[in-house]
């Protein structure tokens, strides 16, 4: 596939249902109560349970490789969290190719939730010349 700086990735929408928040927290082996226990999350000052950061990293990987192809090699994922993504929110990922360093493309990613920017991040990925 031909890539150029400035190219935009196809957006990805993820419904962060209660089931999604909990199953992804457990699949990432993150048993902090704020990711599965609503009462505990509220007692700690949150509105509801919220997506854990290991899941965010996973979603960013999925978003970028769905665009870059099955043979793409992800070299790094750096994310910074903004507003929380609570159960029931809808996350929309958008991304832009912002640089190239050797064989790695740099993709800048934003994940927007109901409250605003949930995460911003940078992914470095090697994309094979002939992607499927």
């Amino acid at each position: 596939m031909s890539i150029a700086i400035g190219a935009e990735l196809p957006p990805l929408t993820v419904e962060a249902s209660t089931t999604f928040v909990i199953s992804a927290a457990i699949a990432t082996r993150d048993f902090q109560d704020v990711h599965h226990d609503t009462d505990a999350a509220r007692a700690r000052g949150s509105e509801d349970i919220f997506v854990n950061i290991l899941t965010d990293t996973g979603l960013v990987q999925r978003f970028v490789t769905e665009w870059a192809g099955n043979d793409a090699l992800v070299r790094s994922i750096a994310i910074r969290l903004g507003v929380p993504c609570y159960a029931g929110d809808v996350l929309t990922f958008t991304g832009t190719v912002t640089g190239r360093d050797g064989d790695e493309w740099e993709v800048t990613v934003t994940g927007k939730g109901d409250l605003g920017d949930h995460l911003t991040g940078t992914v470095r990925v090697v994309v094979p010349e002939e992607a499927p």
């Binding site: 290991l54 990293t57 996973g58 960013v60 990987q61």
Partner: protein, 304 residues
């Protein structure tokens, strides 16, 4: 340097923790759980035939699972030498009881294959705070984790969490005031404040404040007494604290160095005074502020 920063410096000096082996080697079952939850349908993680023909030449684990393998799990205990949990417990004790992750910067040196058994080692990079955030006042704690297979580094991560006091909670709750250090030399002073006496250390005819272990002439055999001050004086100097915040205080507040009528100078918060109205020479008197059982702190108020 605050007590929290000192504790952090101590933990950081201890360096990386022992490598802790993941509960399980990289395996298909945990990969399946993960790709189902995340919704990642790349067959290089799940389809042996497809993976064999892929750039990997066989099944691999999703790189973003690097941290998953070494998570402590349900009821799992972090190791005794884990610097993140050591720092968390210090901040818990200081009243910063809630935690939220803010940054994760992972690098994957290569993809992992089934059967590989990763181990992780973490060191504390540092802390920054106290910071006012939308969630409440808190400290940012940064760690660096390295994952190994054998002695080969396969991934690393800079990880930052915010350890905070939920903003709904009172800033003056017990547990989050700064306590004075009471020593053999100063205990008479703190015993005095509990009975509303402002006591000044006395060595013969000489008054001394802050109290010290020996008289100004250095006589090691001397034993101090004290006098009870009248509790009145004038502002000798003062500062208005705007930033950074101080546990248990709402900024801005005034700290005054007061020259007592007895001649010594003593620090304390000047309560209920507009910072713009405070000036050198202002006449003040002592008030005793009970904090909790066993601790009463002297402060100043403008003399009426």
């Amino acid at each position: 340097m605050t007590g929290i920063e000192e504790a952090a410096a101590r933990i950081a000096e201890e360096g990386p923790s022992e490598r802790r082996l993941a509960r399980d080697p990289v395996n298909q079952a945990m990969v399946n759980n993960w790709v189902e939850a995340i919704g990642d349908r790349n067959p290089v993680y799940t389809d042996p035939g497809y993976a064999a023909d892929s750039v990997h030449g066989g099944l691999v684990a999703p790189p973003a699972m690097a941290q998953v393998w070494t998570m402590p799990g349900l009821g799992g205990q972090r190791a005794d030498d884990d610097p993140l949990s050591a720092m968390m417990s210090i901040l818990d004790d200081a009243g910063f009881t809630s935690v939220v992750a803010t940054n994760s910067e992972q690098r994957y040196h290569r993809y992992l294959r089934h059967g590989e058994h990763v181990a992780a080692s973490t060191r504390l990079e540092g802390v920054a705070g106290p910071k006012r955030t939308a969630l409440g006042e808190g400290w940012f704690v940064t760690t660096v984790t390295t994952w190994y297979v054998g002695d080969e580094v396969v991934a690393d991560m800079v990880f930052r969490v915010l350890k905070f006091r939920p903003s709904g909670e009172s800033g003056t709750a017990a547990g989050d005031v700064l306590r004075p250090v009471v020593s053999k030399d100063t205990e008479f002073f703190w015993e005095g404040t509990q009975v509303a006496e402002l006591r000044i250390q006395r060595w013969g005819g000489t008054l001394r404040h802050p109290p010290g272990p020996m008289p100004p002439d250095g006589d090691l055999g001397a034993v101090p007494g004290y006098v009870v001050a009248a509790g009145t004086g004038t502002v000798y100097s003062f500062v208005v604290q705007h930033h950074p915040g101080v546990p248990g205080k709402t900024t801005p507040f005034v700290i005054a160095l007061v020259e007592l009528d007895e001649g010594v100078r003593m620090l304390g918060e000047l309560l209920d005074a507009e910072p713009s109205q405070v000036h050198i020479g202002l006449e003040v008197e002592v008030v005793f502020v009970p904090v909790e059982a066993g601790l009463t702190i002297p402060a100043w108020k403008v003399r009426s």
